[in-house]
Structure formats: C-alpha cells, structure tokens
Amino acid sequence: MVTAQAIQVRRKGRTLIGHFDLAFDTAGITAIVGRNGSGKSTFLRTLHGLEKLQSGSIAFENEALADGQAFVFQTPAFLRRSVRQNLDLPFQVKGQTPQYDQIADDMQITPFLDMPAHQLSMGEQQRVSLTRALMMNPKLLLLDEPTASLDGTSTHLIETAIQDAVEHGVAVILASHSMGQVRRLSDRVIYFEHGVAHGPFDTSAFFAQTPQVAKDWMEEGR
Amino acid sequence: MIRVIWQCLFIMLAATVQADTLRMAVTTSFENSGLSDVLLPEIEKDTGHQIQLIVVGTGQALKLGQAGDVDAVLVHSKAAEIAFVEAGYGPYRREIMYNDFVIVGPVSDPAGLGKITTAVDALHAIAAGGHLFASRGDDSGTHKAELALWEKTKMGHGGRWYRETGSGMGTTLNVAVAIGAYVLTDRASWINFGNTGDFQILFEGDPMLFNQYAFLPVSDRRHPHVNARAVQEVETWLVSAKGQALIGQYQLDGQNLFFPNAEPRP
C-alpha cells in the first residue's frame, strides 16, 4: 500500500503535481497513464525520492517498499563506462560482489557486457537498465515508460522480465503510453491529468467502462 | 609517476639547503659582466662555500639584506650602503673594487657628446636638446648615480624625452636601443650586452662616473640564521691577493671591467 496525502511538487514556480490524495495497493503491476506533462513521471520520481515534496507526505506500507526500490528511466541513464561497469555500480555502492550472470543471459545482453554502454541501441540500453534494476533485488520496481520507442523484441523481453519479477513478489509501478501494454500487464490503473491523480481503477473496469475523467483522453488515443 | 616526481623534488630540495651554501644579493653588473662566473668557482674551491646569487638592483639587494633573506650583499651606492650600516642592518661596508659608468647612445650622437668633457655637461646637452634619455628608474645603484648627476646639472629631467623603464640594466638597454635613447650604464653590462644595434659608447672617462662596489655582511645580531662565518671567509677571499688579482685580470673584449681597490679592514 502506498498512501499520498495532499502532496505537491513545484519547480520554478510551477506546480508539477499536487492537491490530491491517493492510496493504492502495490501488489502486482500498477499502471500510471495520462497525457505528456500530466505528472506521471514526476509522480514516479517523487515516489523514488528524486523530486522533493513541497508539502504533503508519502507513506509506504513497509520499509522494504521505501528502501528496496529500483528505478528504470525513460532515457537510459548510464555512467560513461562499459556495460559491465555500469552493472557493477549498485553492488559497489553496497560493497557487495556483483552477481548478475543469469539475469544478463535472460535479457540477452551478455554479448555486449564489455562495450561502452552509450554505444548500444536504445533497446539494448533499456534491457541493460532493467537488468541493473532487477539484480538489485528490489521490492518495488518503478518503470518510467521503459518500452517507449523500442522494437518488438526488446519490448517482449522487457515485458516478460517484468512479469517474472511480479511472480517473484516484486511490486511494479509502470508509467506507460501504450494502452496495449497497460491492458496486457497491469492490475490497476491510475490516471493523471493536470498534475492530479485519479483512481486507482481496476484495469479491466478502466477499459470496459472508462471513468468520466479519462474519457476525452481515451478518445484521443483511438 | 607521482612518486618519481616527489623523489626528484626531494633531491632538488635537499640540494639547495646544504649547510655551506650562502646567499648573496648582487647587482646586475656583477653577474651580467661574467665576473661571477670566474670568481664563484674559485671561492668554492678555496673556501668550500657555494654562493647563490640573487641578482637585483642595489635598492632591492639592500632590502633583501635588511629582511635577512640573504647573508651578504655586493652593491654600488655608497650613500645607501652607509645608511644600511647606520640602521644596523649590517656591521660595516667593505670596498672591494670599482668600475665606471659610460653613456651610450646612437652613433649619430645628436647631442654631440663626443665634443664634451664632463659627465655633467653631457647630461646637460642631452636635456637641453630634448634628446631621448632612458633611465633605470628602479632605485638601483646606477639609477642613484644617474640621479646624482642630474642633481649637479641643475636642470629638470621630467620632460617627454626622459623615459623611465623601471627595470634592470639589460631591459633598459634593450629599450634605449629600440627607441634610440641615450642611457647611462655601467661599462661591464654594456660590453657584455648582445643587442647593441648601432649604439656605442659616446661618453666616458670622467672621474665623476667612478662606480665603487662594496661588500656588506648582513647583521647576524639581527638575523641569527645568517651564516656569518662563511660570509667572513668569503669577504676575506675577495680582499685577498688572489681574489683581487682575479678581479683585476678579468677582461671582456680585451677590456678590463673591474679594478680592485680593497683596503685593510676598517
């Protein structure tokens, strides 16, 4: 369970998200949808501590959800180093020995472990990003449009890996523009508009009988 | 890599703080003339003292002595030296040798110095004609000697023709040659100067241009770290028969530059 109360995030005098309460169960996959600039990314970043709350509070049901987070950025973020060194980084932070052979194989990135991360294709980069997130054994995995503009192979690999993670009890919050993906993967939907969250809605219900607030947006998508 | 640099630095530093090193502030002419290259190796051979020269103008040399940053000074400006001793910065001054000043200028000699017989008249002619004159303007011995001469001409020397470089002898000579200005210089610096252009000595020989060098130890009462024993030994060497002979024999371009005239200790 995640509970947000009267939260507000401002930057340069503009409210990015704010003036709403939200509580949702985290089990399975929670999809966050809405137009560009509606506050999806900001909300995800705020959950992860990348944005500061001007007011309000966010409470996680337990500490594991707060501390055991991993984040996959929309634009893959890497050190200017090799893939391997990028994967080693989280372990170095914790002073542990790197272990990611199995995940790397599953994500089909083993062949380019020693290449500079920046030289990979977008799909490969995003697979490396997800590998890095998964090998940290997170309790809560936050994904910011991980498959935006990726080819079918990469999208399939990533979706499969997300579903595997969920089977292993990882809670996933996924911001996405792809209605197909949301319908395929998610258990519940939170809709953002003008920085305000609406929901959560049960996914099947959301698509069967779209709530009034999201109707225009759904029409645009069609 | 870094370790190697440190080792090299350490060796270099160690080499400069040897016990028997002594620092002496000297005027430009002493080094530029080449005399120091003759004397220093002999001094080191005979006394074991390695002398490090700080080459500056007389004014700054005396200030270095005053601050205790050198062990001795060798300069040429009697009035300033006497003031130095009277203020207690040094126990005494010891005259070692002299050379002379000359006035150099463009071969065309617009002020007609060639027909003049005294230094005062020579400067008078330069000032009266408004011919360019380059001055050290740096409180050095040469500058002080020049100012003393101007004093005697009873003429102002502040016109557009009078250019102060605020620099050492060499720089002032470079400036003078470049702009075609007369300049007062010690003979040694002139003979050893490479960039002479069409300049030559236009006036010389007036006893007023006599230039006495003196050796002044820095007071070890005021600055206990001064290596007084070594200074004493170097002074003794400079006034010894050998030291004086070497000074007198030193020639450049077939000319004697310095004339030894040390007298028994005052």
Binding site: R45, H48, G49, L50, A70, F71, F73, A77, F78, L79, R80, R81, S82, Q85, L89, P90, Q92, V93, P116, H118 | I2, I5, W6, C8, L9, M12, L13, A15, T16, V17, R23, T28, N32, Q52, L53, I54, V55, Q66, A67, G68, D69, S167, G168, M169, G170, T171, L173, N174, V177, N192, F193, G194, N195, T196, H223, H225
Partner: protein
C-alpha cells in the same frame, strides 16, 4: 650557457611545474567536484571568488608568497625563500583556482547527466565525487594540463620567490628573462622554443597515458 646547464634548467622547470600541478590538482579537483555536487547558500559567491582568483596576477601571488616566506615574514623560520619549494608554493597558488574552476565546470556538466542515476542508486556524497572525478578524467587531464601550462610559462612569481639563482632556482622562464636582459634575444627566443616543445611533449605524454586506460573513448 652550456648544454648540461640547459638540460638542468629544463629539467628543473619540468619538475617544479609538474610538482605544482600534482599538488594543485590534489587540492583543486576534489574541491571542484564537491562544489559541483553541493548546494549551499553562498555557493554563487564561492564560484565567483574562484573565478576571480583565476585572474589574480602571478606577480601579486609571488609578492605575497615572498612576504610570507621572507625571514622577516610569518613563515621566515622555515627558510624556504629562494628555494624550489617556494616556487612550487607560488605556482600551486596560481594554478589551483584555475584547475578548481575547470573541474567544477566539467563535473557540473557530468553531474547533470549522472544526477538521477547516482541518487537513484543511493550513492553517498564521497562516492559521487569519486565517480565524477573518475568519469570526467579526460576533461580533468586537460584541466591539469592547462594548469601545468600556466605554471611552467609563469615568470613573475617564480622570479620573485625563487630569485633566479643559477644551479638552484633558475628555470626556463627566468632564464629567458635573464638572457633578454643581457640582450641575447635570439638565445632567449630559443629558450622559449624549448618551453613550447616541453609543453607539447608533456601534453602528448599525458594524453598518451590517458588513452591506454581501460574504458575506451567516449
């Protein structure tokens, strides 16, 4: 001037300025990285002062070091005036603001790129600084070389604090100054040529070493 003398002077120039560059980098680079990572109230002022210090005339630094190290000054007892150490100190003071400012600039851009990732991975401040300095090393090498160039080409300060003593503190620049004052202009220019060649060799060597490191080019 004889060949051994020339070699000695060249080597001394190199060692003093390399030493100064190493020390200045050790101070300036962590400081620059820290400045790029930190947000505090007077940060703008610190950066403005740093940039102003880059423009401080070396001769002024020389004078301050001279007055401090003079026997009559506060650090006179150390007896450092007119030694290579004094020259290293002066050069460190001259080039530290330059290297720190360049480091800050380079690290700030990299921090902009790394910000989200490193915060997401819960890195500590110390760890962040280390990552920035490591990954910005190519730019930092250039910053260090800029500092080295300024150090080895500097004449006013080292003349004042070193005294241009033959076989002790004479370096290429002060030798150039001396030969110019002797009117040996061509020789002075030749020494300037050596100075340039030396800088080029150092630059090529450092960049050559940098390229062989693991991690490839970016």
């Amino acid at each position: 001037m004889l060949w051994p003398d020339l070699l000695e002077i060249t080597l001394r120039s190199l060692l003093i300025s390399l030493g100064a560059t190493v020390i200045a980098s050790a101070i300036a680079m962590p400081f620059g990285a820290w400045l790029a990572l930190s947000r505090f109230r007077n940060r703008r002022w610190v950066i403005a002062i740093l940039n102003a210090l880059m423009g401080i005339p070396p001769v002024a630094v020389g004078l301050i070091v001279y007055l401090s190290l003079s026997r009559s000054g506060p650090f006179g007892v150390l007896g450092l005036l007119f030694t290579p150490t004094a020259m290293v100190i002066a050069q460190v003071i001259i080039i530290t603001p330059l290297i720190a400012s360049l480091t800050h600039q380079i690290c700030r851009e990299l921090w902009f790129e790394y910000h989200d990732l490193l915060i997401s991975l819960k890195t500590g401040k110390w760890h962040r600084a280390r990552i920035l300095l490591r990954d910005a090393r190519r730019g930092l090498i250039t910053a260090a070389l800029a500092g080295f160039g300024r150090a080895i080409g500097e004449v006013g300060a080292v003349m004042i604090v070193g005294g241009n003593i033959d076989h002790a503190t004479r370096v290429l620049t002060t030798a150039i100054s001396l030969e110019t004052s002797k009117g040996n202009l061509w020789f002075a220019v030749s020494l300037g040529g050596i100075l340039i060649v030396l800088s080029v060799i150092v630059s090529l060597t450092v960049h050559g070493l940098g390229k062989t490191e693991r991690g490839g080019r970016w």
